[in-house]
């Protein structure tokens, strides 16, 4: 037997069972581990291919053999994430197995190997050699030894030290940050001078005076001047540092926001399909702001506090180590409390963020859909929904506040107790002449500051956690790799001729297979009409060709180059797309037409509009091409919007033109006009046109009939009509409808 039957390794935990169960005379050539049993329980079993047949091995070591026979075939189908692999003999089911869809690529390969081995076994001929190097995981063609589909599949959760990752945004400002930090050091030191001066004031001036020595005015003046000077220094330095650091943190925040947005724009449609607008808006808008506030205010305060505490501790220890030790006693207790509370707070704040996104989601849902809300008089219901979202917001907040409200006073209590201990211990030391009264006053002056700092430092716990959870949600976006990745070593095509090749293309939305095993060759300049029932996958196919999504199996190539190897923007620059649901941006009509080519001249814009038969209606608007169209083209009719989007596609003079129901919402008259315009434009361009009204496709070189994601027929109109297949039925149904319409109208006219 040909050993090149690519024996896949048997999973290690099966090897014993395989060795005991399968005779050595029958070497195992392929194996497949299934993760479900027939009753859909998570129990593993193993399928093996040998030269003789298929073997099924269960966890107890029982083996069921199914020898190769003429007409035996493995077939696979799936539904809602659940796959079934069935062994047929002719049309009779012999056995079946179940698996979850994660195994699908492996199952496909297994079936392929089964076919090869069966053919060779039943015919006695040697194995057909394998052709193309395919990916182990998914069966896609390898690009330079890597699978473009699987290399990006790996995903890792973002680390918990998210805030540190903000450094990436802080790096460009590191010199400003450094100078801000030095200023902070100096200003903190300046604030520590006054308590130090209370020591000589007490010991050298006030106490000797009480004991009868007159006050030395010069010393007092020096000391007071020192107090004033240090206050002025602290003020000046504090101002400079706050200014510099606030400036920097605003910039970091802005960078973060823009970068997140830019990254978001590069993500594939799949990402947007799974996310809600309100949530994304909240992340980029308010959460980046929160991080910014954190950086500029709280982090700054925190750093100052830390410095202050460290410096104070150093000074205290240098004056009197024992008293210092007592003073610092509450510190570890507070640290322990912070540690306890932190986790609770963080989860709480993450929750608040999510709830907050819910609130914005309700808004993002209802405001664009306000016409539906009003049409069905559901204002009250939407208000209730909003109230409910708000209520859960309150509930989560209440929970956090409960913890929080206890935490802060506890810290205060601890510091008060600390103060008491210092008084007691200090008086005791004074009475034993270990320290002077001046030292004790200085200590008390220091520690009241010190404890005040501790209190504010404990507050930072909450803001840090808030910022960290915000940062996490932003990095969620930043860490998301587009499922339509840019190629690592892109190929550049200078002049695209427009040949499109689909090979075994398959695609699923989640677990729904929408496109299955599609093969199609489109010649340069050819016009293809895509027809099929609603939901047959026409728009999906267009999405794949535009690379809004990547195929999950097979490949799509242009001029013989896999489109995954082309830089995305460069590739899309060759495609003019008119969508089923035209979308206009807020701005003037001219801007909307020139969206794909912002430097287009006015003459070009008008020419494109003329070609799309939009020119005349635009002229009838009060401001002509300068008229503002609202969000989503508010203020224009459906057909008008469609014609603007046709003009937009035409302006970029693309090699490939894709029209997804481009003329769906215009009247028959206008449609004919647009059709005429399109007929000219289609010349020399590869065109893919989708239309329900088959009459619009009469110019198509070939019609491709899709049904449930598969091509059922290809040919021109006449061929397909004479074949009397799916297209013929579609055609008949429409012809009948048109007749019926005319009949209706005739009847109505009679009645009128």
């Amino acid at each position: 037997m040909n050993p090149s039957a690519t024996p896949t390794a048997i999973p290690p935990h099966w090897q014993n069972l395989v060795h005991t169960g399968v005779p050595d005379s029958e070497p195992v050539l392929n194996s497949l581990e299934l993760d479900l049993d027939v009753d859909l329980h998570f129990k593993h079993s193993l399928l093996l291919l040998t030269s003789q047949g298929l073997l099924c091995l269960d966890a107890l070591g029982q083996i069921k053999p199914f020898p190769y026979q003429n007409g035996s075939a493995l077939r696979q189908h799936d539904h809602a994430g659940l796959g079934t692999l069935t062994l047929f003999l002719g049309e009779t089911r012999i056995a079946f197995w179940r698996y979850t869809l994660s195994l699908d690529p492996a199952v496909q390969r297994f079936i392929h190997q089964f076919d090869r081995l069966r053919d060779s076994s039943t015919s006695g001929l040697p194995l057909v050699p394998e052709v193309q190097a395919c990916c182990e995981q998914c069966g896609a063609d390898l690009l330079e030894g890597h699978c473009p589909q699987c290399d990006n599949a790996e995903e890792r959760p973002p680390s918990t030290w998210t805030l540190l990752r903000l450094w990436r945004f802080a790096r460009p400002y590191r010199w400003q940050l450094l100078s801000g930090f030095l200023l902070m050091l100096a200003s903190t030191a300046a604030t520590l001078v006054p308590p130090y001066l209370t020591m000589p004031l007490m010991d050298k001036v006030l106490i000797p005076y009480q004991n009868g020595t007159p006050i030395d005015t010069i010393t007092v003046s020096w000391l007071l001047a020192g107090l004033f000077g240090s206050a002025m220094m602290a003020w000046g330095l504090g101002w400079a540092k706050t200014y510099i650091l606030a400036l920097v943190s605003e910039r970091i925040g802005a960078d973060l926001r823009t970068e997140t947005y830019e990254h978001l724009l590069k993500l594939s449609l799949e990402y947007f399909g799974g996310k809600r607008t309100g949530d994304l808006m909240a992340r980029i808008g308010s959460e980046s702001d929160r991080i910014c506030v954190f950086l500029s205010l709280h982090l700054l305060d925190f750093a100052t506090d830390l410095l202050m505490i460290a410096m104070t501790a150093a000074i205290l220890i240098s004056i009197n180590p024992w008293l210092a030790l007592v003073t610092l006693l509450p510190l570890p207790i507070i640290a322990w409390m912070i540690h306890k509370v932190r986790d609770k707070l963080r989860t709480g704040f993450e929750k608040i963020d999510r709830v907050w996104s819910q609130v914005s989601n309700v808004l993002a849902d209802t405001i664009p859909g306000i016409r539906v809300v009003k049409a069905f008089a559901q204002e009250d219901r939407e208000a209730t929904r909003f109230r409910a979202a708000n209520a859960s917001n309150l509930q989560v907040n209440d929970h956090i506040n409960k913890i929080w409200s206890l935490f802060s006073p506890s810290v205060t209590l601890l510091t008060e107790i600390g103060l008491l201990v210092v008084w007691a211990f200090g008086i005791w030391l004074v009475s034993r002449d270990q320290i002077t009264v001046g030292v004790l006053t200085a200590f008390l002056a220091y520690i009241s500051r010190f404890y005040a700092r501790l209190d504010s430092m404990s507050r930072i716990v909450s803001v840090t956690q808030k910022a960290a959870s915000g940062a996490k949600r932003i990095f969620d976006i930043l860490d998301h790799v587009s499922s339509v990745p840019e190629p690592t070593s892109p190929t550049h095509l200078n002049q695209i001729s427009g040949r499109i090749t689909l090979r075994d293309a398959g695609f699923r939305y989640g677990n729904r297979a929408v496109i299955k095993g599609l093969n199609l060759d489109i010649a340069p300049g050819e016009m293809i009409g895509l027809v099929g029932h609603s939901g047959s996958g026409k728009s999906t196919l267009v999405n794949l060709m535009c690379r809004f999504y990547d195929v999950s199996e097979g490949s799509i190539s242009i001029d013989g180059v896999n489109i995954r190897q082309l830089p995305i923007a460069e590739y899309r620059g060759n495609i003019g797309l008119v969508l089923q649901e035209p979308f206009l941006f807020f701005g003037s009509i001219a801007e909307n037409i020139a969206y794909g080519k912002p430097d287009a001249s006015r003459a070009e814009i008008v020419a494109a509009a003329r070609a799309a038969h939009a020119h005349e209606f635009i002229l009838r608007l009060p401001h002509g091409y300068d008229s503002l169209v609202g969000e989503r083209g508010h203020g224009l009719s459906g057909g008008e919007r469609q014609r603007i989007s046709i003009a937009r596609a035409l302006l970029i003079d693309p090699r490939i033109l894709i029209l997804d129901e481009a003329t769906a919402s215009v009247d028959t008259e206008t449609e004919k006009e647009i059709q005429k315009a399109l007929d000219n434009l289609v010349q020399g361009r590869t065109t893919i046109a989708i239309a329900h009204r088959l009459s619009t496709l009469h110019k198509a070189d070939r019609l491709v009939v899709l049904d449930r994601g598969e091509i059922v027929e290809i040919g021109n109109h006449d061929e397909l009509i004479s074949r009397q297949g799916a297209y013929y039925r579609l055609y008949l149904a429409q012809a009948r409808n048109v007749d019926a319409d005319i009949d209706d109208r005739a009847e109505n006219e009679v009645i009128v």
């Binding site: 859909l40 809602a80 047929f88 979850t100 973002p158 918990t160 799974g274 996310k275 999510r354």
Partner: protein, 156 residues
């Protein structure tokens, strides 16, 4: 108790054949529930190979015992929505997160790609879609054990 009797048979390839009132045979018939989550026993439909509805069954209880058995076995082979009994561990509190879980169909793992893949069905019921598109049901999150509840809570 007798109810509606459906002419259902199985052909050798394991597929259902339905003979309608007019005596037409339909091959490769699918049985689907209209509300698999909110009302599994109401609204069952038989769909033909072409995706068109052949017959609508308002409630399962309205069927005769024999038909009901066929319909239910057929549904059982198509339905896969394991019920989560407990969460043993999660790989991280940030998504993507791999959960080790126990379900009514045995132990397994699921990968939660994003928190939005947890759908709230009502106050306590949750539907979790894993990265493969398989739906896992938590019928009553309040009834989970403490450990599971704590883990789950981090994602809600």
């Amino acid at each position: 108790m007798s109810g509606l009797e459906l002419q259902l048979q199985r052909d050798p390839s394991g597929q259902l054949i339905y003979t309608d009132a007019a005596g037409n045979e339909h091959h490769n018939v699918h049985v689907v529930r209209a509300y698999p989550i909110s009302a599994p026993d109401e609204g069952i439909s038989l769909l033909g190979d072409d995706g068109h509805e052949l017959i609508w069954i308002a409630t399962l209880t309205g069927l005769s015992a024999s038909s009901r058995i066929i319909v239910e076995t057929e549904l059982a082979t198509r339905e896969f929505m394991p019920k989560i009994a407990s969460l043993k561990s999660v790989s991280s509190y940030a998504t993507p997160s791999v959960w080790k879980i126990t379900t009514d169909r045995g132990d397994t793992t699921l990968t939660l790609k994003a928190e939005d893949h947890i759908r709230r069905l009502n106050d306590t019921a949750l539907l979790i879609t894993d990265s493969q598109g398989i739906s896992f049901l938590i019928a009553d999150s309040a009834k989970l054990d403490r450990h599971s509840k704590k883990l789950l809570d981090r994602f809600l």
